[in-house]
Amino acid sequence: MTHGQSTIRNEVQYWRILAFVVALGLIFSLFIARLFVLQIMQTVDWTAKAEENSTEEINIPSLRGIIYDRNGVILAENEAAYNVVITAANLPDDDGAIQEIYRQLSRLIGVPVNLNKISPENPYVPCISEHGIAQIAEYGESSTPYQPVAVKCDVDRRIAMMVKEKSVDWPGVDIEIQALREYPTGSLTASLVGFLGPVPAALEDFYVEQGLVPNRDKVGYAGIELQYQDVLAGVNGRRVVQTDVAGQELRDVQPPISARPGLSLQLTIDARLQRAAEDILKTEMDDWNRHFGDLRYTSGVVIAANPKTGEILAMVSYPSYENNRMARLIPAYYYNQLVNDPTNPLLNHAVGDVLPAGSVFKLTTAMGALNEGVVTPDQIISTPPEIEVTERYYANDPGQARKFVDWNKAGFGHLDFVHGLANSSNVYFYKLGGGYKDEIPNGGLGICRLKTYAAGLGYGDAAGIYLPDEEDGLLPDPTWKRINQSESWSSGDTYIASVGQGYVLATPVQVLYSAMIVANDGKFIQPTLIRQVIDSNGEVVPMWRNADGDLIREPAPGSFQVSPFEPHLKWDLTVDPLIQEFGETTIRGCEPILGQTKTVQPWVFDVIKQGMRLAVTSGTLERQFENATVLAAGKTGTAEYCDKYANARNLCIPGSWPTHAWTIGYAPFDNPEIAVVAYVYNGGEGASVAGPIIRRTMEAYFELKNIDSGTVQAQ
């Protein structure tokens, strides 16, 4: 045993080292426990977070379907737009080289190198906000270095090619191709086809659920584009990819789901007839405006359809708008200009404007009066320049005398039915509609029966042409007036309604329906704009329209085929008992007798058609159809109106209101294949402006038909 000096003895007490070891053991036990909790107990949660970190869902845009006319002319398609983009991560390392690229790029595309710092007050909005190249690239670098950011959108193809060529020398600069909607026929079909816009904030949840990406994907805002959004849009695809911390895509985590392109629509519209009808409407209005030396006629509607098939061949609502200007974004100043335009170009007036129909509505009164035996075709009615009837608000009302004047200040003397219709004698139809002394006893047809016959001709309810603007129009009755005007129905109201004035309101397309139904002997063929639905391989997709109006892939009870097109009989007045019988018409309103309905007798249509043919040969349209080769039948209308614009111009003079011009017609009169309605806002006397329009539109139709059948060479 050696007894060493204290300085060379190890005097560190062993238990103190042991205490150190114990402390160490405790701490590491705590660590292991913590690791156990994190790695064994909570591992599922943390793994999910790790996956959330590194996986990103990418939405692949689908290509929107194309819209064609009946002959395959493109009305809406997808055009490639070229955007100049910068991917920050691919820019060179050398700052001088970057600046040189910016300078050269700036010269080429005209975007300054430095402009407007990006800040929360002045944020970067792709394609919209104005910033310099350096600011946008810097923004890209700090947010998504591996994602391209757009420096300039929609450059022309030549510049795009130049940038693409240069992209070898300019790492990080590239061209991105984006699908933009283009409308080759532009404003000609804008009111019908519509336009696209960004996903509206109010419907964001709805569209996001359908897989759309706000601020990227666009949706229909009007017309066919809006109505058939679901059909045209297709279904966006989806990729789930692994990304690193900078957002660079590394690989697919799940099998990618490719985008399903939207279906294409072929419309029943003939773009050539559409063009012709618009030109005819414009030149006709221009001619008159030149004649007056005043911009009197500014807007109108022309619609042409085949009454036997229900196909709408042309639908012009003029003036319209340039939907190509909305392709990338909706310019605020242009949009405001359209909204503030008194002619309301954003509205498809053909289906969305409710107007007094005027004398074209006399077809209703005529059909009702003949079918109900209020008048016989041969019965001669005296038609003085004016009649005086007692206006009563209730049965025993002593009433006040009120004058009802004919448009022909000389009066027509005495008229039978066909001449009453051909000359559109107001007095004749007043008497039929409201009764006159012993000549037409028992109050004539009366408002209640007038309403049921009007509904039979397509008035008062949207027939389902399926456009977003489609309106119902208005067929008044005593109950409606009590509720809406707080007034009882007067006998005078019935007289006025009999000639399509007063409370009666209709859309131009409804006026056309009445002509189509009469031309087709009471058969109303479902009006339609869709000829067929085509998939991306060019195959026709069979589709049906169900009772709710939605397009479906399989037939269902209550549905009818829309693709490929099949005429669908909506109703036949001579077969389907659609005409309601009424009990005593009292001030309480119309009292339908439940279960008592009837049809319209077929001869009624023959007589009305004779009258409409007579209108063309020797009636109100005689002058407009002079020397016409088209064997047409027609009916004019001059509808008094007083709206806020007329009022503002002090045109609403009692007894001499301004008037809209209407004319309907069909041809050939013995076997109709084309029906046309023309309407000119503030168009004055019906026949003079609207008559030539329908004649020339019909002529255009037959000329096109001859070209198509090869009998006439196209020039």
Binding site: Q5, Q13, R16, L38, Q39, W46, N53
Partner: protein
């Protein structure tokens, strides 16, 4: 030393278990660094793996040299070393180049040397010497105070850099070596109470970013997932998603896709936890604990107090840095810049810790054979 008895070194006693464990950790670390920087071109270009290997090699050589030198030499030159170290640190503070916002480095032209790393080793030597000479006085608060002031002579410059974490390491070294030298239990109790109250008093004097780190740790903002708590959140995701067996070497999403920041140094623990799982990381922790225990074994075997205290100091240095680093990774402590010994990338820290191991080996080589 007035004693004529000299204890010859005996390489038979060289602790190969300790050496093996250290090498295992370094290899583990290099492997992990290589995985952590994969795919990051800038880091690959910096040749971190190669540099770490060069430092490991240099460190091993230094370790063998230090082991060969009789450790008692350090006791004899502890005073001049103390003065030189203070001068060095003071110069750095005054002239020091600003790197990472603080003057912590000496740029020698070839490598950056972090003097605070060397300072830790020097402090261990100085304190071992001080406590050996004054061991019987350690029941006296005045002498405890003198040992504290000696410690602060070096630590104050580290604090001024400001490098709070290394300063804390130094205070922990002082405290542990004081404990080994015979700190009384009532004094210990006093220190514990002091250690609890001091941070509260000291908090207002902390630099902005230090205050923020502490606050972030104590009151994490639940909405600030991409704010200041981003790094620690990513570390927890990495650890938790590792599961029992890990996502596999080179396959940890948090590591390979770079969601985990400084995954080659401060957060290498999390990186390993994701790729090797619970089993792997517990194994690594086991090896580190083994290294610490081997150092404590040297303290027990040491032939004199100076050697024992040197070994305790080195063990403390390794243990404390490990505990703090793992504690941060596990979100049990506020974020600091302490690396995981032997494993994290970092030349200076690897060198100093290998020198520490050399000291321990030197003590083991010269231990007195117990004779019965």
């Amino acid at each position: 030393m007035r004693s004529g008895i000299s204890i010859a070194s005996n390489w038979r006693y060289f602790d190969f278990w300790l050496l093996g464990a250290v090498f295992l950790l370094i290899i583990f670390g290099v492997t992990m660094i290589s995985s952590a920087i994969a795919g990051n071109i800038e880091l690959v270009e910096l040749n971190l793996v190669q540099r770490q290997l060069i430092f490991a090699l240099a460190g091993t050589v230094l370790m063998l040299i230090v082991a060969a030198i009789d450790y008692r030499l350090w006791a004899s030159i502890s005073r001049p070393m103390y003065v030189i170290t203070i001068l060095l640190l003071a110069t750095l503070y005054i002239v020091g180049s600003a790197l990472y916002g603080s003057a912590r480095w000496f740029d020698t032209g070839v490598i950056l040397i972090q003097p605070s790393e060397i300072a830790k080793i020097v402090l261990i030597m100085i304190l071992a010497d001080f406590f050996t000479r004054n061991m019987e006085r350690m029941g006296n608060l005045v002498w405890i105070g003198r040992s504290f002031l000696t410690t602060m002579g070096i630590t104050i410059w580290i604090l001024l850099q400001p490098n709070l974490s290394t300063a804390i390491v130094m205070l922990v070294l002082w405290f542990t070596m004081l404990w080994a030298s015979g700190l009384r239990l009532q004094h210990l109790l006093m220190f514990v109470i002091g250690a609890i109250t001091l941070p509260l008093v000291a908090f207002p004097f902390l630099v902005d970013y230090q205050q923020r780190r502490v606050l972030n740790f104590l009151f994490p903002d639940p909405n600030a997932s991409y704010g200041e708590i981003y790094n620690i959140q990513q570390a927890l995701i990495a650890i938790g998603s590792g599961g029992l067996l890990g996502q596999g070497y080179g396959h940890g999403t948090q590591v390979q896709l770079r969601f985990l920041k400084v995954r080659w140094s401060d957060f290498i623990f999390s990186a390993m936890a994701q790729e090797f799982g619970f089993v792997g990381i517990v194994l690594v922790m086991g090896v580190i604990v083994f290294v610490i225990l081997r150092c404590l074994r040297a303290a027990r075997l040491a032939s004199d107090s100076f050697g024992a205290l040197l070994a305790v100091g080195v063990a403390t240095m390794i243990a404390f840095q490990t505990i703090v680093n793992i504690g941060v990774n596990l979100n049990l402590m506020p974020a600091t810049g302490l690396t995981l010994p032997f494993v994290s990338y970092g030349g200076s820290s690897l060198l100093s810790i290998l020198i520490g191991i050399g000291l321990v080996q030197s003590v083991v080589l010269r231990h007195r054979q117990l004779e019965f």
